[in-house]
Subunit: 335 residues, 2 copies
Amino acid sequence: MTIADVARAAGVSKMTVSNVTSGRVGVRPETRARVLAAIEHSGYQVNPLARALAGGRSRLIGITVPSLSWPYVGEIVQGASQAAEAAGLDLAVFTWPSGQPLPDGLALLRHLTGGLLSILPPDLEDESIWPRSAPSPPQVSVGGPGRYQLLVDNYGGARQAAAYLADLGHTRIAHIVGATDTAPHDAAERLRGYRDELHSRGLALPDAYVSPGTYHERSGLDAAQALLRLPDPPTAIFAANDAMAVGAVHAAQDLGLRVPHDLSVVGFDDLPSARAVRPNLTTVRQPLRDLGRLGVLWLGALARGEQPSSPHILPTELVVRESSGPGPSRFKGVL
Amino acid sequence: MTIADVARAAGVSKMTVSNVTSGRVGVRPETRARVLAAIEHSGYQVNPLARALAGGRSRLIGITVPSLSWPYVGEIVQGASQAAEAAGLDLAVFTWPSGQPLPDGLALLRHLTGGLLSILPPDLEDESIWPRSAPSPPQVSVGGPGRYQLLVDNYGGARQAAAYLADLGHTRIAHIVGATDTAPHDAAERLRGYRDELHSRGLALPDAYVSPGTYHERSGLDAAQALLRLPDPPTAIFAANDAMAVGAVHAAQDLGLRVPHDLSVVGFDDLPSARAVRPNLTTVRQPLRDLGRLGVLWLGALARGEQPSSPHILPTELVVRESSGPGPSRFKGVL
DNA sequence: CGGGTTGATTTTACCGGTATAATTTAGCGG
DNA sequence: CCGCTAAATTATACCGGTAAAATCAACCCG
């Protein structure tokens, strides 16, 4: 079933059929009806491959993600998905594990000229990964390097968290750092924000209060356990993501501490699970769905020849729930 | 940069370049080297679109999923992803919300003849959704209808769970049913397994013990709350998935009950989060990654002309952790 | 009633590859 | 050194569409 078959059946030229299927104007209603009937009757469907090859464009956009079992990523994709649907675009998701070479599937995307949205890309600039002089569809990078980048205010968010805990009266605030391999930028910025905020308030910051993690729940548990066994343990822990914050809560509970009474815990992300956990997690909300949504919008703008101002940094928002409370010093003052 | 440019630069015909890039034999090493040099020098990359259009095949396979923020789905995709990589295939993920019409992106896939793996497809057979007489790439369905289906033994898994709880001495075992819209088959089968097992043991099964849910944590919480407030509350709850089981645990804790001492809870899925929750969840493990892996393997087999025996039903496995314990009747017997 | 428009439709060429058949080249025995 | 065969290479056609230019028809007006 090709366009030629339909044309023959309808008694018109291929081009007229093409004009009908592409919704172009300048086809007599009567002719259009005949073509439509022939299409209906034959069950014909345009071949998007041929269309993209000949037409030089396509309604398919690609999105690359480091992993799909990371809920964080799912949220972004969900946002992108909705925006794509609203814009009448199709979204194909490709996993591109960080550090890996470019999968061949991406070669397809590069020729499918709808555009490419990369979540935490290994490195969009690195020529050893992404061959140079390749035809480049519009590309937008989320949380990584690139010509057009969409970022979250990790630094500001971390300061918000630290400031919030300090305002509650906590003076011994520890931090569990995120993974420095998969998303080096984010982890480093959150650490910097935390450091700067404590510093600006003249709070002590022993080296032992900065504990490395991997973004996984287990690493948060281990790190918190070590922190809480310190001779001078923290009364609040700011974890670089929600999963590690949950781990920290569990570590505290294992040691017989109550959250938030004995230990305040603040996370980062505000994934849906932050609300499905006991106690509900106080956390720094990242606008993940907006990230995906904006990415698709930018792709659309780029296709129209517009140039979004890059980088664009989205603000975070502190969401106070049940895992955080007044610090011990504040209590003492009240009593 | 097209194949013609490379051919000109290397002083050979397009066809020779094609033979080199496709790894076909019958090219003199010396010629091959010259072509390779020209490719290297120009940064040429084959256009997979043109190749698929002309050659009638492709190494790209598609996978459709109802949603990407469902962790359940992420696991399957992860499995498929690994298998695809191992097989040298590229995997593109398309979201196809249940009940929705077929996204255009799938039209692309249908012409990119690598094959299609559908997770919980709305209905692969329904012609109003998936137009008939379309060129059909090999299609495998996971957990849904279709010519080649890969299923999990939901019925058996539910019986395992119910049997386990009964063996522990529980006699009042309730069930929180899964969503009947998104994955009607799974929810119904789990309910049936639960029913049959209790029945075969002559255990009472009041209507009130079967409570509807939506697979979300919140619905599990609500359902469990209602169950526990019954005049004759259950001592064990089998939830149709892990999220609702977590909700049930929370409901119990809210009412001052201890899990597993006062209430045993068993889930279904064994997602990574089942281990990151307190108490660790006893649950029926679904081989989700295997499902994805097998799906890709089947696609490969179909491409080679082999015919996997369908449907194939994968067994489940009961994973006992901390959320379940002996029933009260057993205790009484011992005392 | 002929020339100028406008609108609908078709013709021709091409997108960037591959299949197949035809052609050239190389190798070999006699 | 010739004829024959196998290997390497190339010419041609085609995959299924679209772009742009060309054609055709109908209409308007002086």
